[in-house]
Symmetry: C2
Subunit: 267 residues, 2 copies
C-alpha cells in the first residue's frame, strides 16, 4: 500500500458525470474510472488491450469479421484494427458517455474509433447478437467487472448468445477477473462458458493498476482446437510496425500457463 | 488505489522495532514490512518464495549445496528444504531482528528455520562468501529492494562475489525488481551480472502485494546453458506432496517469456 502511494505524486481529479471519472497521475498518466473502479490507465492499458484482442485473433486462422462488445474507451478497436487479416469490425457499446469521455480525454485509446474497418453502434449487445446470428469469426467482450449491469456478461445465457452470433470455427475472448481475489467466480464463469463451447481456456496478463496486478481472460472456441498456440505468428519487424508493446507469439502460449493453485480449481 | 482499499477491511498494526513492522489484514493475513516496504504477506508470499527457490534449483541438474543470502523470514529456506536433491543449506542473514520477528509472528514462514538441512548464520553475507569460495551449487539472494544497505546486493562486485562462492556449473537467482516501474534498474543489474556470468536471464512471478503485482528475478549460470528448461521436473503427485502452490515445470519456462517492451530493453 505504501509503495502504491509513491506512484501517485501529482493528482488532479475531473468528475464529469455520475459514474464516469477521469484522473491524471504523474506516473500512470490519465486514468478512466467507472463506478469507482479503474478501467484503464495510460501507463499500462496496452497490455490488457493487446492481449484481449490478439489472443483470440491469433488463435483463429482467418479472423475476417470481429465483434467487440463493450470497449467504450476504444482501446480494443485500436488493437483489432492492427491485425492484417481482420477486414471488418463491429462494435456495440451501450454507454455513449464512455465513448464521448474517451474521445475527449483519452485520445490514445479513442483513436480506435477512427478505424476504417469499424462500424460503431450505440446499442444493447444482447439484442444485437440475437439479431446477428452466425456472423462473426471472433467476438471480444471488453466489459467492466461483474458488479451491476455487467454481471450479465458472465452468465451462461450470455455465452449462449455469443455462440449464436459466431460463425463456424468461431472464437471468443472475455475479460474474466483475477485468480488472486476471485478464483471462485473465475471458475463459475468458465463453467458457464463450457455449457456452450467445446474448448475453454484461461489466460492471464500483467496489468499493474488492476487489483492483484493481473487480469485474466476466458478464451473459447466452438470446436476442439489448441487455443494456446497462435495460428498466425508475427515476426519482430511486424510487431514493431503494429506497435505491439506486450503481445508476441511466445507470450500468447505462456499466458495460458497457470500456477498450481489455479490449475487445481480450473482444470 | 480504490480497489486496494477493498482488500483491507480489518487492520491492526504492531510496531515492534524501528524498521521492522508487522500488520494483520483480513484478506491478506499477516504482513512483514521493512523500512515501510512490504516484504511478504500471508496471502501471496508463496509465489515469490517458490519461484526464487525453484527456478535456480530446477535449472541445476544436481543442486546439492545451496547458499541463501538474506531471506530472514525463513520462506526461502522452507522452499529450498523441499527439493529432494538438496542435501545442505547454508543461510546468511545480517539482521537477527527479522528472524526473531518471523519466528514470533510468521510461523508459516519461520518453519523454514526448522529444516534439518539448514545451518543459519547471523553474519555479513559479503564476508561469508569471501571466506567460502567454490562451495555452492546454487546461491539465492533474497534481499529487500535496492534502497539503503541492500543496494550493494545489485552491484557488479556482488555478482563477482557470488561467482567466487559457486562451484563449477553453479547457478544464482536474485530478486530483481519490477519492469513496470524500474526497467532501467533491472537492465543495469543484469548488465552487472553479465560481467561475471555467461548466461543471464530474467523471469517474473505474480505477487499481488508487490508494486505492480509482479516481481522479477535475475537467474544466471557460470556456463552456457538453457536456464528456461528445468532439468528436474516434478509430476503432479510430487508437486502436491511438496505443497507447491505456484511453481511447476511449465510455469518455470513460461516465467522467462517477456512482453515486447521488456525484451527490447533487456535482450
Amino acid at each position: 500500500m505504501m509503495m502504491l502511494w509513491c506512484f501517485y505524486r501529482c493528482l488532479f481529479f475531473v468528475s464529469l458525470l455520475n459514474n464516469v471519472d477521469l484522473t491524471s497521475r504523474k506516473h500512470h498518466g490519465k486514468a478512466l474510472i467507472l463506478d469507482g473502479i479503474i478501467q484503464c490507465t495510460e501507463h499500462d492499458e496496452f497490455s490488457y488491450q493487446e492481449m484481449i484482442s490478439f489472443l483470440p485473433l491469433c488463435a483463429h486462422p482467418s479472423p475476417a469479421k470481429v465483434l467487440i462488445v463493450g470497449g467504450g474507451d476504444g482501446g480494443v478497436a485500436r488493437e483489432v484494427h492492427k491485425h492484417p487479416l481482420v477486414k471488418e469490425i463491429v462494435q456495440v457499446e451501450i454507454d455513449a458517455e464512455v465513448i464521448e469521455a474517451s474521445k475527449r480525454y483519452l485520445p490514445f485509446m479513442a483513436v480506435g474509433f477512427d478505424s476504417d474497418k469499424l462500424t460503431l453502434n450505440i446499442c444493447d449487445g444482447f439484442q444485437y447478437m440475437k439479431e446477428h446470428k452466425d456472423e462473426f469469426d471472433v467476438i471480444i467482450t471488453d466489459s467492466s467487472d461483474p458488479i451491476g449491469p455487467a454481471v450479465n456478461l458472465f452468465t451462461e445465457s450470455y455465452f449462449g448468445l455469443l455462440k449464436g452470433a459466431l460463425r463456424s470455427g468461431g472464437i471468443i475472448c472475455s475479460q474474466n477477473g483475477t485468480v488472486w481475489a476471485g478464483l471462485d467466480h473465475v471458475k463459475e464463469t468458465m463453467e458457464h462458458c463450457r455449457k456452450h463451447f467445446t474448448t475453454v481456456k484461461y489466460a492471464v496478463a500483467s496489468v499493474p493498476t488492476y487489483p492483484s496486478g493481473q487480469i485474466g481472460f476466458v478464451v473459447a472456441s466452438l470446436d476442439e482446437r489448441d487455443l494456446t498456440v497462435p495460428k498466425h505468428r508475427f515476426g519482430e519487424k511486424e510487431l514493431g510496425e503494429m506497435e505491439l508493446r506486450y503481445y508476441n507469439s511466445e507470450i500468447h502460449s505462456a499466458s495460458f500457463v497457470l500456477p498450481n493453485f489455479v490449475r487445481k480449481v480450473l482444470q
